[in-house]
Amino acid sequence: MDALNIAREYDSVQYIVIKIGEEQYGIDISYIDNIVRMQSITRVPHVQPYFTGVINIRGEVVPVMSIRVKMGLEPDEYTNKTRIIIVKMENNAPIGLIVDEVREVVTLDERSIDEVIHDSKVDETFINGIGKNGDTLISLLDLNAVISEKDNS
C-alpha cells in the first residue's frame, strides 16, 4: 500500500539506456519512434559533419546523426551491437541517432534524478539530469540540445 502511494506521488519516466563509449545515457522513451539495426547509410555531401547520411525507414527518408561526432568523440565504429534510434520530437520530422549499444529500459522517478550542475567552463552540455539506477549512473540526454543546430564540432 505504501509503495503504491509513493509511486503515485512521484512522477516517473521510462528511459531507454544506451551506451556510447563507456558511458551510459538515457533517452526518454516517449520520444522514441523506433530502434533499428545498423543499415547502409547514404552519405550526403556538403552537410554538417555530424550527419552521417540518410536511411530509409518504411519509405521515409530519415537523416541519421552521429552522437559521437556531435559530442566531439572519435567517430563511430560499427559493430553488430550498433543501433540507430529513431527519435521524433513532437511535431518535428524523425531523426536517427547512432549509438554503440542499446541496453535496457529503466523507470526512474523524480527522486532518483539529480540536476546537473552546469560547469561554466564547458560551453555546451547534452545532458539535463543524472539518473541513479541501483549502482549505475545514467546521464539523461537532452534531446533538444543533441538535435539542435549548433556547430560545435
Binding site: T42, P45, H46, V54, V61, P63, I95
Partner: protein
C-alpha cells in the same frame, strides 16, 4: 446541429456559383438578350442566397437577395441589361468574393454591409439611374421604416409577451435572482419565425446559438428538446441572462434569417413569478419593442397550459455542447474534387492488390513444386497493379488548370476599362491537367504575365491604327501538354519588348554599365527584365509598373521546378512561355554511379551522354573543357564536387553527361550509368543543411537504399 461541418462544402459550392456568375455575366455583357444566360445567372444567385442563408451569413444573403431580385426582373423582361448594370453586378460579385474569403479565413463573413452596392442594385430595380436615386433612396426606406414601427405600435396591443407564460421553478428563479445580484440583466423574449420557414428547428437553433454568444438562456418555452424536435408553432419564448443591452440581443436574434420579428423586455421578477395574470401591462411594455414589421397574423393562439419547463440541467447541457462545438473551429481543409470514375478505378486496383497479396500468401504456404514459375507470375501481376495504382493516384491529384484561368476573362475585361484599351482574351487548353499543388501556385504568375501584356504589351488604339493593326488588342492564353511538361503560353500582338528602352533603363539604374550594354545580346537584355525591381513602365499604374512582377514570376515558377522564357519582336508582340513539370512528386531520372554511391539526375536537364577520351580534354583558363561538335563545354568532375573518396581504376574513356540550363551547357563526369528510372522525390528534411544546394532531394530505390538527387542546375 453544427453548421461548421458543412463549411468546406459551402465554400466549394460558393466558388462554383461565383465562377458561373462571373462567366455568365461576361456573356451577358455581349449578348444582353440571351435568355439561357439570364436563367443561369438567376439560378446561381438563388442557390448562393439559399446557401448563405442556411449557413447564417446574413450579409452575404442580403446581397445575393438583391442580385437575385434584379435578375428576376430582367428575366421577366421588366428591365434591360446595360453596361452600368453589369458593372454593378461585377462589383457585387467582388463583394461576395470578399465575404467568401473572410469566411474561409475565420468563418466569419466580416462586417462590410456593402450598402452602396445594395443601394445601386435597388436603384436598378426601381428603374432609376444610379445617381438620381442615391439621394432619394434613403427617404422611402426611412418612411417605410417609420410606417413599420407605426404599425408595430398599433398592433402591439395584440402582441403578447408570451415569455410571461413561462412558469419559473425553483432553480430558474435562483439563477435569475443570482444574475440580478450580479447586476446582470434578465430579459424575456418571444421570437416569431416566418411562417414560410421550412426549417423552424434549425432557425431556432441558430437563435439559441446567437444568444449563447451574449449570455445564457435560462429557460425556454417550449423546452429546448421540443424545439429541436420541431414541436412548436412559429414562435418560442425564453428567459435570457446577459450583460448586453436589449437592443443588441434583439439585433443578434434578428440576424438569423427567416425570423419574422422578436419582442422582449426586461423581466420584473415579481410579475414573472405570478405569471399569466397581467397580460395587458406586459403588452404595454412590449410595445416599445423595436419591431420591423408586424401583422395580426403573428399572434397565434398561445400554446395551451404552459408545460413544465425543461429541467435547467438539460438546457445547460445543450449549451455546453454547443460551446464546445464553437471552440474547436475546424480549419478549412484543402480539398481536391475527384471524379467518381477515378475513385472507382482506384478502388478496383486496391481490390486487385488484395487479391495479388492473397495469392502470394497461398503460394508461400503451399508446397507446390511449380511454385517458382507461379510465384514469378504473381510478382508480375503485382507489379502491373502497383504501376496502375501509382498512375491512378497521380491522376487523382491532377486538376485542370481551368480553375485558375477562368477568372482571367473577367480580369481582362476590367483591365480593358481601366487602361482604356480594347482587348480580347482567347484561351485554349483550359482542360490541361496539372498537379494540384502546381495549379494552386500558378495563378499569380499567370496574372502578372497577362497584366504585363495588357499594360506594357498592347499599344494604345492610335498607335495600333498607325501600325495597321486592328483596334482590338489580342491576348492569347494557351496551355498544352508536351511530353512530361505542361506548357502555358501568354501571347500578345502588342508592341513587343523594346530592348533599347530596357538597355537605357538598366544603365540609368546602374544595373549595367554602358560598355556592358554594348556587348549584350538581345537575350541577355531581356533577362534584365527578370531582375528584382526592374520595370520599364514609364508611368506607375496600379495595374503594373511597380517592378515586382517578372522577378516574382520567375522565382515562383522556378520554385515549382519550371522555367519561363520569352520571345519577342519589336512592334509585333511577344510570347511568354512557362514550362512546368507535370507533377512534382515523380520525375524521370538517369541513375548514375560515382565511386560506390548512386545518384539520380533529372532527365529534364540532360541533353546527351557522351563517351569522351581522356586525351580530348583541353584546358581553358585552367578549367577542363571538351570540344564537342564545335561547342566548347566545361567539364565538371562529380567525384571532386561530391567529395567521393574511393579511387577508381583509370579507364581511357570518360562518361560525360551533357546537361543544359537555359543556353548554358556543362559536362558532368560520372563513373558509370545505371539507366533511366522513374523516381519518387522525397525531401531530406530540415535537419540536414546542405549548404551547396547540390542535392535537391532523395529517393528510395527498389532495394530499399536511398539515392540522392543531384540538381544539375546548381552545378552550371
Amino acid at each position: 446541429m453544427d453548421v461548421s461541418q458543412y463549411l468546406g462544402i459551402f465554400l466549394d459550392e460558393t466558388n462554383e456559383h461565383l465562377q458561373t456568375l462571373s462567366d455568365q455575366l461576361m456573356i451577358l455583357e455581349n449578348e444582353p438578350e440571351n435568355e439561357d444566360t439570364i436563367n443561369e445567372i438567376f439560378r446561381a444567385a438563388h442557390s448562393l442566397k439559399g446557401m448563405a442563408g442556411t449557413m447564417g451569413y446574413k450579409r452575404m444573403q442580403n446581397l445575393t437577395h438583391d442580385m437575385e431580385n434584379v435578375f428576376s426582373e430582367v428575366r421577366n423582361g421588366k428591365i434591360k441589361v446595360d453596361g452600368h448594370m453589369v458593372d454593378i453586378l461585377f462589383q457585387a460579385l467582388d463583394a461576395l468574393e470578399e465575404y467568401r474569403e473572410n469566411i474561409s479565413e475565420n468563418q466569419d463573413e466580416g462586417t462590410n454591409d456593402n450598402e452602396p452596392i445594395i443601394k445601386e442594385l435597388q436603384a436598378i430595380l426601381n428603374g432609376e439611374s444610379a445617381e438620381a436615386s442615391d439621394d432619394k433612396k434613403d427617404e422611402p426606406e426611412s418612411a417605410s421604416a417609420e410606417a413599420a414601427s407605426d404599425s408595430a405600435e398599433n398592433s402591439s396591443g395584440s402582441e403578447e409577451g408570451k415569455w410571461n407564460d413561462i412558469v419559473l421553478h425553483e432553480p430558474e428563479q435562483h439563477v435569475i435572482s443570482e444574475a440580478i445580484k450580479n447586476s446582470q440583466k434578465v430579459y424575456g423574449f418571444t421570437v416569431y419565425i416566418q411562417e414560410s420557414c421550412i426549417l423552424k428547428a434549425a432557425r431556432a437553433f441558430l437563435v439559441f446559438k446567437a444568444l449563447e454568444e451574449l449570455g445564457e438562456v435560462i429557460i425556454s418555452e417550449p423546452s429546448v428538446q421540443d424545439i429541436e424536435d420541431e414541436k412548436f408553432d412559429f414562435d418560442f419564448s425564453l428567459y435570457f441572462v446577459t450583460d448586453s443591452p436589449i437592443d443588441k440581443v434583439k439585433e443578434a436574434i434578428m440576424s438569423v434569417s427567416e425570423i419574422d420579428h422578436v419582442i422582449g423586455d426586461v423581466i420584473d421578477m415579481d410579475k414573472a413569478k405570478i405569471a399569466n395574470e397581467d397580460d395587458e401591462e406586459e403588452a404595454a411594455a412590449a410595445h416599445e419593442a423595436e419591431v420591423k414589421e408586424t401583422s395580426a397574423k403573428n399572434a397565434p393562439a398561445a400554446s395551451s397550459a404552459p408545460a413544465p419547463a425543461a429541467p435547467a440541467a438539460k438546457d445547460n447541457k445543450g449549451a455546453d455542447n454547443k460551446k464546445n462545438a464553437g471552440a474547436n473551429k475546424p480549419a478549412v481543409n484543402r480539398t481536391v474534387r475527384v471524379d467518381i470514375e477515378k475513385l472507382d478505378v482506384l478502388m478496383n486496383l486496391v481490390s486487385e492488390l488484395i487479391i495479388a497479396k492473397n495469392s502470394l500468401v497461398s503460394f508461400a504456404t503451399s508446397d507446390n513444386q511449380n511454385s517458382h514459375t507461379g510465384f514469378n507470375e504473381q510478382i508480375e501481376y503485382l507489379e502491373s497493379v502497383t504501376t496502375n495504382l501509382h498512375e491512378s493516384v497521380m491522376k487523382v491529384r491532377m486538376v485542370p488548370i481551368e480553375s485558375v484561368v477562368n477568372k482571367f476573362p473577367r480580369m481582362i475585361r476590367d483591365l480593358s476599362k481601366k487602361l482604356d484599351k480594347q482587348m480580347e482574351l482567347h484561351m485554349s487548353g483550359e482542360e490541361t491537367e496539372l498537379d494540384r499543388t502546381v495549379v494552386d501556385e500558378i495563378g499569380d504568375p499567370l496574372m502578372h504575365l497577362l497584366r504585363n501584356s495588357a499594360d506594357h504589351g498592347l499599344e494604345h488604339i492610335d498607335v495600333r491604327r498607325e501600325r495597321g493593326k486592328s483596334d482590338v488588342g489580342q491576348i492569347y492564353l494557351n496551355a498544352y501538354q508536351d511530353g512530361n511538361n505542361v506548357v502555358i503560353e501568354v501571347k500578345d500582338d502588342g508592341n513587343g519588348i523594346d530592348t533599347e528602352a530596357v538597355k537605357r533603363k538598366a544603365i540609368e539604374r546602374g544595373t549595367i554599365t554602358p560598355e556592358q550594354a554594348e556587348t549584350m545580346n538581345e537575350k541577355e537584355i531581356i533577362d534584365l527584365l527578370f531582375l528584382p525591381s526592374f520595370s520599364t513602365a514609364k508611368v506607375v499604374s496600379d495595374v503594373s509598373g511597380r517592378g515586382v512582377g517578372l522577378d516574382v514570376v520567375r522565382s515562383k515558377i522556378g520554385a515549382l521546378g519550371g522555367d519561363v522564357s520569352v520571345k519577342t519582336k519589336l512592334g509585333e508582340g511577344s510570347t511568354w512561355t512557362i514550362r512546368l513539370p507535370l507533377t512534382l512528386a515523380i520525375i524521370q531520372a538517369l541513375m548514375v554511379v560515382i565511386g560506390d554511391e548512386k545518384y539520380a539526375i533529372s532527365l529534364g536537364s540532360i541533353q546527351t551522354i557522351e563517351d569522351v577520351a581522356e586525351e580530348d580534354i583541353k584546358y581553358v583558363e585552367a578549367r577542363e573543357v571538351i570540344n564537342l561538335r564545335n561547342t566548347v563545354i566545361p567539364i565538371i568532375r562529380l567525384r571532386d564536387v561530391l567529395g567521393v573518396e574511393t579511387e577508381k581504376e583509370v579507364g581511357s574513356n570518360l562518361v560525360v553527361i551533357i546537361v543544359k540550363k537555359g543556353d548554358q551547357l556543362a559536362g558532368l563526369v560520372v563513373d558509370e550509368l545505371i539507366g533511366q528510372q522513374e523516381i519518387v522525390i522525397k525531401s531530406l528534411g530540415k535537419y540536414i543543411n546542405c549548404s551547396s544546394r547540390l542535392i535537391s532531394g532523395a529517393t528510395i530505390l527498389g532495394d530499399g537504399e536511398v539515392a540522392l538527387i543531384l540538381d544539375a542546375n546548381v552545378l552550371i
